[in-house]
Amino acid sequence: MEKIKKLTWREIPQARLAVWTLIAGEFVIFGGLIVMYILNRLKYESWGEMAQHTNVWAGTINTFVLLTSSYFVVKAHEAAVHKNKAQIKKWIWLTIVCAFMFLGIKSYEYTHEIMHGFTLPGKHLVAEGLGVESRYWSFYYTMTGLHGLHVIAGALALFFVMRNVTKTDKNYQRIEAAGLYWHMVDIIWIFLFPLIYLIH
Amino acid sequence: MKIFPENASSYGGEVDFIFWLITGVVAVASVIVIFLLLYPVLTRRRKLTKTQRYQKGEGFRNLRLIYLGILLLAIADFFFLYKEGPTWTKIEETLPDKEFHVAIIGRQWLWEIVYPGPDGKLYTADDVKKINQFYMPVNSVVHMDIQSYDVIHSVFIPNARFKQDALPGRNITRWVKMTKTGTFPLSCAEICGIGHANMKATIIVQNKEDFKKTLTKLYKK
């Protein structure tokens, strides 16, 4: 085990510092969105009915998929500490598979919801006099869509970092940095999941 | 030389007073700052090697004059806030009993002024609508329901020192009491598209008898 000692600013690896800063920035972006959603949610009680149309089971499975992927990333980091390339490859590929599973389940959900008429401009709902409620779906698609983009970005980052590391046999600290970003993607979902799916 | 347009409302004078109060204090402060800047600039021009002090400005004692400056400004600041508070409450936060009630509705690019019909109530079937003509009785509190159909507009009455944005989906009630008869401009102060520059209305302040006549004329139409 490494000895834990307090690092001065200068001893923190650059990549780690940069990713932490990036994560802070991302949290403000999602934070803004989430606060806006909560304020709207408190104002319009009828949004709860809309939330019942989401697929809670799919959401729950997705949460587990992401949590599992976070475990894989931790394992990949552990492998990176020991500079074990085969292990790194294995665990990161598993993470990327999880990312694809997440996206697959998400697109199944989207298809399902669109087929039920909960589309983005919400013409259907507005025609029924549910203009206010149609904006629940605006938030739903915007927040989950933006999160989905982050999943893709995180998976791409992991993939490229893995390729770089296995090819050049250096930059092992980048696995940790990309992993940190992946954890953030995971944590944001943990905020979004109850807010969107569970509160009726 | 006139700085402000003629004041014609009950609270306009107080707004002007706040301006002159702040300007007065700021003028004194400006003189001090100008002196502080010009004195070294004029007297320390030449090369005076080694006569200057090695001052780093650390600790309360060395910074005491700056703290004094901040303190003075803080006193001035809170004096302004103390003075303006009641006026703000009066104009924005309270609504005196109304003597007349209209709705001003902005739309691209004109003002619709909605007068209550003969029943004296707004938002009933007999309301009368006028475009860009805002009649109002002198020396009476007029409530204005400020609304918008499409984009954000802003009701700006320079002579009353009054301004309020009109937002779609909201009704904002504010009041004005004109103290002079005559016609005054009302313009839109928030950019609202190509016709923004042409969006203006006329306020016609009449004495109470004339205003009654105007109202009956409006109802006949």
């Binding site: 507005v126 | 702040i22 700056i66």
Partner: protein
């Protein structure tokens, strides 16, 4: 240490990884943007003073043109000039060399940031040529106007109709610019924390490095919600999500809050780097330590925190709760205190100093004077919510923010350019032309902005293409004020050509800079050759002294470089 190689044009201006080259790329791009913004200003000022005239080089200005001109003038100057110049250019040129290192922490990220910046510039320019013309909704982009006729209630428009509009392109440009600055900001932050020269503790960093980093962090914190907001506005335009659509329960005020939650801290994001630049220049040219280094730093941090709590003073009469407005009014007026302290500390640096009236010093003093006397003090007028009822959205506001932004952004940038030009180019700027440029700019800036105060007090509201429809605004002497403002603005813009000529000419043919340290300054960038080699230092400096040790009693010469032993 890298060896210096001669690079070709493409390498230097497009693919370079060197922070100085990337800074230069940013600077040229921004000069290009400013010339567009300045040209727009010239056109609409001419139109205001002489409404029937065909403006030379443009033609007759219609209301639509006018709206488009003012909108894009504002956007370009705020987003690309001010933010770009003071975060990207100043950060790139100054941070690595002033903290005594070879380059940024992530040179490739730095290059990519510039490319994204360039992309945002291209998108912005492209927005002028959309089928329906440029964007004309005011630079604050308030919906529903900025959603245009794409709201839910209008007949269906195809996606192409919605996408190929100025609205979409401007928002995309802004989003990309923010991305670029965020990436740059992360880079600056990591560089500053991680790559400082040996011995340079945080409190031995030059003030400008501190200020740029504080500005960056403030930017990163405040821009997040607006990034989300921009995304939502884009979706409103292109997909009809209705976030800001009042008829579906959305709220146009939401955008105002998001915009100003970024927009007001942004003013301080813009203000802090020039304040840092002024600190360097004033201290060097007074031959005295900066008065109250820690004091200034503390006040800056206080101001940065306070600045996130004042945003709604842009919305006193926008329909927010009047009781909330009182709170914001108090915070707004309180934020004058830290800045008063900073300005007084700068003035204290001058006192008992040994002033040298070099060109950068003139710009710096001009900036301090104008910013304090006419920019800062009129902020008190506007911060007092009662007077803001009248002055909101009038020319008084326009004059106020030109007096705050012009001295800081423009004067500050010029001060920096005249100060550091010889270091980064190895040649000197022509001093005669520089003096002429300074005095013309100083005089005609006042000639342009001061009449706007008087016009605003007379009740002239903003963004009006033609004031002749308002009789009370055509009474004497208001048209005369408008003409004075216009003629001054035109001369102001013309006098920038002196600078442009001086800049380009001196870059190629200017007198060679023979000294490494012509100003006898302490900070590390002056302790290497001019221009610095690739990698900045032949030998990495080791820092022993603070950045402002002028006239130390224990030294013979009146300056003590930071790396002196």
């Amino acid at each position: 240490m890298n060896t210096h190689k001669k690079h070709g044009f493409w390498h230097r201006y497009f693919f370079s990884l060197d922070h100085k080259d990337i800074g230069f790329q940013y600077m040229l791009t921004i000069f290009f943007m400013v010339s567009i913004g300045g040209f727009f200003a010239y056109v609409f000022r001419m139109h205001l003073a002489f409404p029937d005239m065909k403006v030379p080089l443009f033609g007759l200005v219609t209301n639509k043109d006018y709206n488009m001109l003012i909108t894009n003038h504002g956007l370009i100057m705020m987003m690309w000039l001010a933010l770009g110049m003071l975060l990207a250019v100043a950060g790139n040129f100054l941070i690595p060399i002033m903290i005594g290192t070879d380059d940024m922490a992530f040179p490739k990220l730095n290059k990519i940031s510039y490319w994204i910046f360039l992309l945002s510039v291209i998108l912005m320019i492209a927005s002028f040529f959309m089928p329906k013309g440029g964007l004309g909704v005011g630079w604050t982009l308030y919906p529903p106007l900025s959603v245009g006729d794409f709201g839910y209630n209008t007949p269906y428009k195809s996606f192409a109709d919605r996408f190929f509009t100025a609205n979409t392109f401007v928002l995309l440009a802004i989003a990309f610019e923010f991305t670029s600055l965020l990436m740059g900001g992360i880079n600056f932050f990591v560089t500053t924390l991680n790559k400082r020269a040996k011995g340079m503790s945080l409190l031995k960093m030059p003030m400008v490095v501190w200020m740029i980093n504080i500005a960056n962090l403030l930017f990163m914190f405040s821009v997040g919600p607006l990034v989300a907001g921009t995304f939502m506005l884009l979706l409103d335009i292109n997909v009809g999500t209705g976030f800001y659509d009042a008829y579906r329960g959305g709220d146009p005020l939401l955008w105002e809050h998001l915009f100003w939650f970024f927009g007001h801290p942004e003013v301080y994001v813009i203000l802090l780097p020039p304040l840092g630049i002024l600190a360097e220049i004033i201290s060097v040219n007074s031959r005295k330590p900066l008065f109250g280094y820690k004091f200034i730093l503390t006040l800056t941090l206080i101001a940065a925190v306070l600045s996130t709590m004042v945003w709604a003073h842009h919305q006193f009469v926008a329909g927010i709760d009047p009781r909330a407005a009182t709170v914001f009014s108090i915070f707004t007026i309180i934020i004058s205190l830290p800045f008063a302290g900073i300005i007084l500390a700068y003035i204290a640096t001058l006192w008992k100093g040994d002033l040298r009236f070099t060109l950068p010093m003139k710009w710096a003093l001009g900036a301090v004077a104008l910013f304090t006397l006419l920019g800062g003090f009129t902020g008190l007028h506007l911060g007092a919510s009662v007077f803001d009822i009248y002055a909101h959205d009038t020319s008084f506001v326009v004059a106020h923010f030109h007096y705050t932004l012009f001295p800081t952004v423009i004067f500050g940038s010029f001060a920096a350019i005249y100060f550091w030009f010889s270091k980064f180019s190895g040649r000197k700027l022509n001093q005669t032309l520089g003096n002429l440029h300074f005095w013309l700019t100083f005089i005609f800036f006042n000639g342009f902005a001061f009449p706007l105060f008087l016009l605003g007090l007379a009740g002239q509201h903003r963004r009006i293409a033609d004031y002749r429809q308002f009789e009370f605004l055509m009474q004497d002497p208001l048209p005369l004020y408008r003409k004075i403002a216009t003629i001054s603005a035109v001369i102001l813009i013309l006098s920038q050509f002196i600078f442009l000529f001086n800049f380009i000419w001196s870059l190629k043919r200017g007198k060679k800079e023979t000294e490494d340290n012509p100003w006898q300054a302490n900070t590390l960038e002056w302790q290497t050759s001019s221009p610095p080699p690739h990698g900045n230092f032949k030998v990495y400096p080791v820092v022993n002294y603070g950045p402002y040790e002028y006239n130390r009693p224990d030294k013979d010469k009146d300056f003590t470089p930071q790396n002196e032993i």
